[in-house]
Symmetry: C3
Subunit: 356 residues, 3 copies
């Protein structure tokens, strides 16, 4: 991982009046660019092969400039050019995934947030250590498939975007479904409604919901829309469909807005607070937007099945605010909130605390 000292040296060479917010043209880039513009920043979109045409359709989100590379790795080799443009990078899911977490950690350019989070969220074991030690309930792991005594989710290692999962209700199901040539883990299937909670932690903000350092915000929430699991019931019972070799899959295609019962908000904040406090102890803090991916069962208990240590695509719903962020500042998006944090960091001389 590139050292903080090195990054700070790059940042020291920047023209503070020409800071440019940059990210890869995908995932949540529309709101990142739109939000940066609202806060008065220049914007730069990193594109592979050629500048995507569809930004032309969104004048308020189109970056001021495209930076076209041949392949993602070129972002590292051409970092000098980007540094000359006073670029601060905003990580998002696709940016990190396409480049790879290791390579992302090596980019010698100022990046919003703490890159140390990458390590903690990319490995399921230490992610679990972090979350459970912060007091989050997680679905139980089942070591031995013969112990399957309730519905489980079998996930192959490195499963991307929702393929490579299957549900088994007992050992027989497991045996019929499993591909033993791949690594997998077996997780209790928690039955309940899903809430993907979009938080924002700023170590430099001083008023609001206070943590040991800085403040926590709730920007919104969503539910992922997954093909084909969210529509398969229309065809009939899965038990029947299996005979036709039709199986459920879990590929995210979009997001649906929702709000949570207000009486659950204290618990929502308690979870967010503890996860951030624990991150401060473990690796200096998860900075900026993050998401707890939760299930609420019928005893109104939360189970966290994953954490994303950066902006998630569900925030794309809230490009003009959400029922939660509108109570902070009407119309603010997570993309804009990131830009605001950078603007405040620059104003207060505290960029070092939010950039790595």
């Amino acid at each position: 991982m590139v050292s903080k000292a090195e990054i700070m040296k790059v940042l020291a060479g920047y023209d503070p009046k020409m800071i440019t917010i940059a990210t890869v043209c995908s995932h949540s880039s529309l709101q990142i660019f739109a939000g940066a513009r609202r806060e008065g920043f220049r914007t730069l979109g990193i594109a592979i092969g050629k500048a995507p045409k569809f930004y032309d359709a969104f004048p308020l989100a189109k970056p001021d400039e495209f930076f076209v590379v041949e392949k993602y790795e070129d972002i590292i080799s051409r970092a000098g050019e980007l540094a000359k443009k006073n670029v601060i990078l905003i990580p998002h899911g696709s940016f990190v995934e396409y480049l790879g977490a290791k390579r992302f950690a090596d980019i010698p350019l100022p990046t919003y947030g703490n890159r140390a989070v990458l390590e903690w969220e990319s490995d399921r074991d230490i992610e679990r250590e972090w979350l459970t030690s912060a007091g989050c309930k997680m679905p139980a792991l089942i070591k031995d498939p013969r112990d399957i005594d309730r519905p489980v989710l079998v996930k192959y290692h490195g499963a991307k975007g929702g393929r490579g999962f299957f549900i088994a209700k007992d050992y027989k199901d497991f045996k019929m479904g499993i591909d033993l040539t791949q690594k997998f883990n077996i997780q209790e299937y928690i039955l309940g409604t899903r809430y993907y909670l979009h938080y924002f932690y700023s170590p430099i903000k001083t008023d609001g919901y206070k943590l040991s350092k800085g403040t926590l915000e709730l920007m919104g929430m969503d539910r992922r829309d997954e093909t084909n699991i969210d529509e398969i019931y229309k065809l009939g019972a899965q038990e029947e469909l299996k005979r036709m070799e039709i199986y459920p899959s879990f590929v995210v295609t979009g997001n649906i807005p929702l709000v949570i019962r207000e009486s659950l908000l204290p618990k929502v904040f308690e979870m967010g607070e503890k996860v951030v406090e624990r991150s401060i102890e473990l690796f200096g803090g998860m900075i900026g937007p993050f998401c707890l991916e939760t299930i609420v069962n019928d005893k109104l208990e939360f189970y966290v099945f994953e954490i994303s240590g950066r902006i998630v695509a569900g925030t794309n719903l809230n490009i003009s605010g959400s029922p939660y962020s509108d109570l902070i500042e009407p119309g603010i998006s997570t993309g804009q909130r990131i830009a605001r944090d950078i603007k405040e960091g620059a104003r207060l001389g505290k960029l070092e605390e939010i950039i790595s």
Copy 2:
């Protein structure tokens, strides 16, 4: 129930410039406080045990003051203190439920709306009388379980928050599922999509959709998100799941936004209109926000399965307006609409018509 005369005496002692909107810190309190602030009121949050921290995260909704009580009953015993603060209480689902409808009716403080509605909605028999005499179709009641000839919903008396329901498709199902030690009723299961319609009736507003007295508004609509019934299909057929002792439950965890086919709006207004007109005849009128909880079948017929005579949590989606309320006044929430009604009532010298 506290008498109207007594309430009016309390209200007469208030400083009209210092009216404070108060409610219990739960359910829909964020929008009630935020809406009251937008209309220029002071706000007070009644909290049990201690002031909840999460309001710090929502600066536009945080009440000016918390009033901490040990237990809900203290709201009655400490009403004198609240009266000195010129408090008008806003009822919501949790407020009424926690305190109990009877005790709520006894609070010797000015309360928005007509407390007589509590009696009419807390008893399923007279609720049914009200709604059917207003022309609403409701799911049929089945007296004798042996007459179950189609899917039914069996509800235990006093079932709260969605537990204590089950679906039976025939008498056999019923016999297997029923706990005969509890009281229950059996209701036809209406198959169709659900629309929770958020209305607002103001007896003092004169322009708009006119009733015999005052006007009716449509503020928005939602669908409740219920654990685990809204996710259970992913595990397979319920018939299969029963063998694993996994049963559906109906606990509300949140709300999802939607709009209804525009050609159904005349019927939506007709239902709201008739229910209000009938309430005026029966108990002097259901004032302020209310919700008809409906199912639309594939003949596009509405069935009303419940009424809530006050603000419902589904309005939390519309804290910055809805596709319906935006056509009345952009950005107005039900919480703000309540505050507006109180402000107008004060301005017109008509508080007596909307307070009880």
Copy 3:
């Protein structure tokens, strides 16, 4: 079909300062009227029998005037009166359906958009020719029921509003479900999540996402909410329900908002672009709002199962903007976008290009 020359003659007689936007009071009329008002137009609502009362509840959407006819055909016979009011008609789904596509084409009044699209979307065969020749994947047609080797959707000809569909998983299902006295077609059932994409094509706009002529916009998207298919799973497996003679139906009752994975947007625009370009070649162009009704499978491939060549009811969600249109101009609806196009057309002397 009334000739363009005739329409242009009518339009030439209009007072350009008194243009009145008119449509039938249903479907998406609230946003059409509200949008027209925002752009400074007079509005007129065509109603059958009597003026609907519910518009009184929406002061920002209530038309300036109602034009009450006895039956839809009177719109044609009384066209002279409407011409005197300088009326430009906005077509929507109910308007065209109630009047019939053929009669709609004959109305001797200026109508927004290109009426030639009616012919291309009302016949499934030429609709398929248009879409597939534009490069859209569509569900395969199965000619012979004995070839059913996967789930299919059987649609009776002229099925309206979602009745008259059924799902068959094999030939046996088909035989049990089919009514051979009716005409039907058999379509592959594509399993995946549904995105109804709301586009806007203006031949007279010059900046933005450019086509061979004019520009393409993405105003929003939705998912249709259908009774009873979207709730039937709660009762148990369809296989079981059939024994009780409970069958799925597909009647649209409303719409749910959502956003799509940002990485799918290039494909969304590519589809919209090709469909418009092809429409220009085939019949002079589909002008104004249109909707591609798509399914995304778990390989992230789009299937288009239908096109609507005018405003769809799903845009009713976005009466105050959507996460997409807000990046064009905050708060703009499709209804307002139509009015804007007419205003721009008038300003630029190009009404002829968007009116027929």
